[in-house]
């Protein structure tokens, strides 16, 4: 069952990837807001 650790890790990488997509969109919103001010 040692493979379970890496299996979970592989899925964590997938989730972390989606999170970076989300963070990039959020960052851009903040940058645009600052530019408007």
């Amino acid at each position: 069952m040692a493979w379970v650790v890496f299996f979970i890790l592989a899925w964590l990488f997938v989730i972390a990837s989606f999170y970076t997509w989300y963070r990039a969109v959020e960052n851009e919103k903040k940058i645009r807001q600052m530019e408007r001010r």
Binding site: W3, A10, V14, S17, N27, M34
Partner: protein, 495 residues
Amino acid sequence: MSSRSPSSLIARTLEKTWSSFALLMTAVGWSVGAGNYWRFSWRAANYGGGSFLLTYLIWLVITAFPLAIAEYAIGKLGQGGPLHGPYNLAERYKKLAAFGGMWMAWADFMIMCYYWVVTGWIFYYMLHAIAGTFFAPDFDASAFWKSFGFTPTSLGVGALMMFLSMLVTAFGIRGIGQVARFMFPLLFIFTVGLAIFTLTLPGAEKGLEFYMVPRLEALWDPATWMQSLSQVIWSIGIAWGFLICAGAWMRRNDDPTLTAFGNVVNDTAVGWMAGTAIIPLIFAISATPYEDIKAAGTGLAFVVLPQLFRKMGAAGHVYAALFFIAFWFAAFTSLITIHEVALRPLKDFGMKTSHAAVITGLLAFVCGIPTALSSDWLDYYDTVWGVVGLSLGLVFIALITSYFTDPARVRQGLMEMDIKPFIRLGKWWDYLVKVNIVVPILFFAWWIVYGEWIQGWGAGLHTYYTFPGMLILVIGGAIMYYLVSKVIEAQTGGR
């Protein structure tokens, strides 16, 4: 001294619809390519399976993440490409810093010499996936690969890829970057889907065990460590010089820590998921998986993927076609980015873009012909440049950002943003970067000693076999240092 040329393809890709998300997708799109499927499954299956993954993980933390940030820093703070970025950032040994950047561009060029070959394979498989060849009742994936891989047909298809790359880079065809940006999320989701499908097949759990359980004996073999290090940097695209180019085009508020983290996790997710789709499948469909892995060699992904799509039944045809279209786009956009970085030094030396694109393209084609016709040659190029060349590039990135200049100053420069950084860099980052000045060299030395002296002459790196390549590496490096010095002197008036 700045070299932000408005004609750069990288810049053109980004300038029209620049946003943090576009930057991340473009950067990740460059990273994800042939390396995640073709090279990852080949190297992971042949160098330890689970042990490969464990060492891969260690390299991600020690090397990939800190050095991806460092490479972005060279571009963002040095405001230039592989030649000028390091020169501008360094406070001392400036010429050596410029040489380090050029070393990366040179490694990038040498890898381009066989990257067009692999892009050609993917293109050929894409055409056959669309035509439905894989779904004929008497289709034999191994025989199909043997009848194509390393034959004149494969050379011809590869030549077409190189020609297309020359067209795109010479004439700056717009739009490809934008298409690639949509293709990456598509490829990501397709790959996850493939991995899930493989896991549902009976017998896949044995493969999952081989792929994901580390074995102690493989951890004692330095080849596992060196191969996983090279895979990490090859796949993510560290020490190729293109993160420097991307860094040069970042705005003040584009966060290099988020983009570097994004490069690392997105690329690893695709690579590990591709491995989950490919390696366990061999165990599900074959009675002799270990022998099949050895026999498939560098063509592992190309032997396995068609069989995976066949298993999907009626939906397999559409899935295969869409997957290979997205995969080819990923590989082709990586090829043109590699080409762009390879021609950049010639532009920095004062040559026109179109001339530089054609010269580097033709040279890469001629130098790469042996790799299109022989798997031994491809392995040879990949060992000398993909493993040794890129690892030395890591040492240069670490030197430039932590020894040729004050790492605290670099860190401060990176943190100068109006938004909160994704990860706040502290002294831990300085230490991690410094570790990379010695670690790749130590592992390289261990690899040679273990391979040649303990396992027997020629068992490890095949020193006698790779020696001519190493010699080119050293002599070429010396010539390049001379050229870089002359160009720098001419451009700065000897300052």
